[in-house]
Each structure stands twice: as structure tokens, then as C-alpha cells.
Symmetry: C2
Subunit: 142 residues, 2 copies
């Protein structure tokens, strides 16, 4: 809501000036270009962003491994970027992708294979679209 020149520029301008957090990352949401399903939420640093734009394939930065990572480099489950967008304050990226195989390291199409509902004053979790498309034991240990 700030009307400062900087905010206005970032929100209304056509310059790509990603707003990295203290760890040098932006959040990236990958959706399935065909179905609209959210496949995964991950992070990109400056290099991952650049490589994704240049190559048309999704690159991320792994916080747990502290390393740049081409999606599918171990598993073969690559993502071809169909469209890439940034949000109003430029701290989040949305990529619509053609997912080769499955996005989740558990072997499922999407990382979002569990549904949350209100139930009896509490919360009920259930599986949804949770069939495995590959066996992670086989894919990651070869």
C-alpha cells in the first residue's frame, strides 16, 4: 500500500528486480500447465532464476543441501517451463510446467497429496491423488 517510488516501481514497472530474502532466495510455485494443480513449492536463488530463464528448465536452490539443483538431475523427473511469472512485490515466482513423470521426491505427481479438513472441532487429514508414480528407493539410490 506504500506509494513510495520504490514500491511503485517494483509493483508497476517492467524491470526484473527480484526481492530476495535474508538467505538470498525467492519462493517458487510450480503448477502443472495441463491441470493447474500445484506440484511443489521450492526456492530459487539468483543463479537458479537465471538458469531457469535461460534454459527453459526448472532450477532450484535446496535449503537443506545448500546447493543449486536442476529439477530432475537425480530422478529424471524434469520440468519444462511453459510460462514464468513474478508477483507484485517480486518475492515470489510462479512457473507453469510440463512435468516429466512426478514432481515429488516421494514418487507422487504433486507434493500436495494430503487434504486437510475441519472435523469435530479438530482437523482431519486424508490422502488424495496419492498414488506413487515411481519408487523413490529405486530412483534415488541407483
Amino acid at each position: 500500500m506504500s506509494t513510495s517510488a520504490t514500491t511503485n516501481d517494483r509493483e508497476e514497472g517492467l524491470a526484473f528486480r527480484p526481492k530476495f530474502d535474508a538467505s538470498g532466495l525467492v519462493t517458487c510455485v510450480a503448477t502443472d500447465a495441463a491441470t493447474g494443480d500445484v506440484l511443489m513449492v521450492a526456492h530459487m536463488n539468483d543463479e537458479a532464476l537465471r538458469k531457469t530463464i535461460e534454459s527453459g528448465e526448472a532450477w532450484y536452490f535446496s535449503r537443506s543441501r545448500n546447493a543449486l539443483w536442476r529439477k530432475g538431475e537425480s530422478s529424471g523427473q524434469t520440468q519444462r517451463v511453459v510460462e514464468m511469472r513474478m508477483d507484485c512485490d517480486q518475492d515470489a515466482i510462479w512457473i507453469r510446467v510440463e512435468q516429466h513423470g512426478a514432481a515429488c521426491h516421494t514418487g507422487r505427481h504433486s507434493c500436495f497429496y494430503r487434504k486437510i479438513e475441519a472435523a469435530d472441532g479438530g482437523t482431519r487429514v486424508s490422502f488424495v491423488d496419492a498414488e506413487r508414480q515411481f519408487d523413490p528407493e529405486k530412483v534415488y539410490r541407483k
Copy 2:
């Protein structure tokens, strides 16, 4: 990829145990239930999660204002939750919503109204689906 009991439980279990970051937040992606478009990326703390589940309306936690926030409480642009899911490691939430009006504080349907493409060894940004559905000056200053 860890096979520890804890990781396995979090990924394969049916207990809701959100993995909050150092600030007590998880990331939340809201998509349009009708079109699959990503509307916004925001954050939820424990209370925002609970209120969202209980009420069926989206609540967030604003990092800039350091405050719990019912989506639309100032603007009227509320979000009714159609489905809520969590991801494999439980640090991200996906809600499919019926968006009342427009999701972005700039007045646009989605916060993702700019496209990024590779161009001549650099990056080209252009507007896409960027028509305003309300005038933020009027909506937020009344």
C-alpha cells in the same frame, strides 16, 4: 530422502504437524478453484491456519504488519476455501479458493500479472492479465 522415523511420519502420516519456520510461519499458495491460476503466495502462522480450517475463509499472517489478517477484511476481497492441502514436508499449504473480486492489493485478479521471458541474452518482462478490477486508492483509503 531421509528414512528416519520422524521424516517418514511427517511425509507418510495422517497427523497434521505443520513445520513452521524460525518466524513461526508456513508458506501458503492460493489458487483460483475455477481456473487453476495462482492468485497469491502468502504466509500463515498457527492461528491463521486454525482459523482458516475452522471458518473456511482464508486467514494469513502479514510479515510486514506483523499481524493476523483475514483476507478481505479491509478490501472486501475475501477467499472461500474449497479445498486445503499440505505438502510432503508440511511447510507449505495449498488452498483452492473462490475469490470474491480480486486477490491482489493492486486491484488485479492475481498478484502474478507480469510474465518473464528470456530475450537477447537478458530478461523481458511484460504485463499479462493485468487489468485492474478495483481501484486500490478507493478500496484501502475509505
